[in-house]
Subunit: 350 residues, 2 copies
DNA sequence: GTGAAAGCGCTAACAG
DNA sequence: CTGTTAGCGCTTTCAC
């Protein structure tokens, strides 16, 4: 069983037919008329010998490997990568493709990343996914263009390549709306200091939602800090201790779950109970944090799985000639970030 | 550039030599004597045409793909997977191999996992790594044996396959020793309830270390609960509230970082400051938790990266005939778990 | 020193 | 309905 040396030829011999016939029945070639009983003979022989096709030979002949390359920036350092990979892997498997994953680094030189693409190209992958670990703008290796490709979680500085990104602005709206709907009128924002799209778009979403609720987003308190736990702690202390008590927010929207974790600590130190005295909503839905904080954190999920799966679908459609990627390259496709309700939001104290 | 249609034949034509010669110089074949100037011509032509080898054709001919299959159980659900993959990927890259990653699930049927192995086999990977997401005993698909394979982070129920696992017992010793060395004499253990190797081995390490320090490990307080934050919280409350105050531990060794996170909450509720009133050491070194708790958690790291890299090395050595995997299959190779010192350990209050 | 030719395992015209 | 045959792009034995 699983004898790696039996080829189509052996099956042909055993079944008493030609290799053509074997190929026809094993691949269920549509135009080939083969008598049912012959088919049976062939299948039986194949099973009996434990025949398994040699995909390399097939690929060489058909110029199709059925492999997709995934170039992933910093696969290990962020838990998000896993979800992108999972989404991509499942989508690929469902359509009979496999993933060849190469890890690269955001810090790696263009040449090094180009070499990675080259490795993928030498193996004749049918298409390439380039995934970054957070939504940003990347300089793509030029040889990426040699094969259908799509960008996951970022946009190309050069533009002109199909990309899928999270809808940051709308995600922020979702988060802030949850707070507004709970009855909060004094809502603060703990923002990131990095100059990345999310920083600007989430702020925009925050302000817009407040404005639309008649709450004057322009005047709402915003504190920025590095997007880590410590930054969140510091920004939260600042925002919670400023001004007269009547100005202090009763709810905080945090740039990400790590900052929210810092806000939890600040709240604890200030004697503020969550969610009774202070409601908090995060962003990212990092399981390890969001689900494990006490109380569990209500947050907005990044659609990593979905982006990975979507990208693979587009790629395969393009490879199989069902789509033209160029048509989608003009503007990135944007995906919704759903709210994950847990226990950190409640109405403000009366 | 990067024209995917130029082959060795085109290079030969351009350089005015035969394909044999091109192959010889491009592969730096040792026994082939080629005049230096010819070599130059060939290389120049190759570069000029942007030739890149077709690995598929090479593989078909040489029966070597230079690809390693990695079957990973639940890649996405645990952050550990990333480190195994990273270790494997870097080790593979360093030796000119690439990884083909397939995601599977611990819950998947044997048949489904066998089909995944089959997919890898059809692509003629040179070897296979089978990685689980926590140290346990797995039922391996039988076709795994068709190609050199090594198990990462688990042992086979069938035995007889090279495997690498963390040294749980010694890891626990390391953790407990840190507490003993800080001067603690009343040390408790928050253990997991699952029947997995780590549960038993860490307990063993805990008791042994205490015994060797003259502290009577058999009598030391142990509370078990599911290995999540909530379980850690509950077990910690139980252990911290029982008996007279003179019996209450001044230090806690936790089965993992999540349980330690729960212990932090219990301590806070009981008005115990960490590490002044209570020292804590965890296990796993889950970055997101350990580094972000306040104070940052001292813990024992699982050698995921190292195991991934080690496994790849062995696999490649076996593939290249430098090792015989069978020699190592008798017993799993065990890897050390180093202590990561952060801020949750201090001497007990005087 | 260099080249001709066989063949890795498979698919797909093209014949019959 | 089924078989013959020519490659896919490369490596490698064997001749020259």
């Amino acid at each position: 069983m699983g004898n790696k040396n039996v080829g189509i030829k052996d099956v042909a011999l055993a079944a008493g037919v030609s290799v053509t016939t074997v190929s026809h029945v094993l691949n269920e070639v549509a135009y080939a008329r083969v008598r049912p009983e012959t088919k049976e003979k062939v299948r039986a022989a194949a099973a009996q010998l434990g025949y398994e096709p040699n995909r390399l030979a097939q690929a060489l002949r058909t110029q199709r490997t059925g492999m997709l390359g995934l170039l992933s920036e910093d696969i290990a350092t962020t838990p998000h990568a896993g979800r992108i990979i999972l989404g991509a892997d499942e989508a690929a498997k469902a359509r009979g493709y496999n993933l060849m994953i190469l890890n690269t680094s955001a810090a790696a030189s263009l040449e090094s990343r180009q070499a990675d693409v080259e490795a993928l190209l030498e193996r004749r992958v049918d298409g390439i996914l380039y995934a970054t670990m957070y939504h940003r703008s990347v300089d793509l290796p030029p040889n990426l263009g040699n094969v259908p490709s799509v960008l996951v979680d970022s946009v190309s500085t050069g533009g002109n390549i199909t990309a899928v990104i999270p809808d940051e602005e709308r995600g922020a709206r979702t988060a802030v709306s949850a707070l507004v709907e709970a009855g909060h009128t004094r809502i603060g924002f703990l923002n990131n200091t990095d100059d990345v799209p999310a920083t600007h778009l989430r702020l925009q979403g925050f302000r817009n939602t407040l404005d639309e609720a008649g709450l004057d987003g322009g005047a709402a308190p915003v504190e920025s800090a590095p997007s880590e736990v410590q930054g969140g702690y510091e920004a939260a202390r600042r925002i919670l201790e400023r001004g007269r008590s009547a100005d202090v927010p009763t709810a905080l929207f945090c740039y990400n779950d790590r900052m929210a974790m810092g806000a939890y600590r600040a709240a604890a130190e200030l004697g503020l109970a969550i969610p009774a005295d202070l409601s908090i909503v995060g962003f990212d839905d990092q399981q390890l944090i969001a689900a494990n904080l006490y109380p569990a954190l209500t947050t907005v999920a990044l659609p990593h799985y979905e982006m990975g799966a979507w990208a693979v679908e587009q790629l395969i459609d393009a490879i199989e000639g069902k789509t033209d990627l160029a048509l989608m390259a003009a503007a990135p496709t944007v995906m919704d970030c759903p709210l994950v309700r847990r226990d950190s939001v409640a109405p403000p104290r009366a």
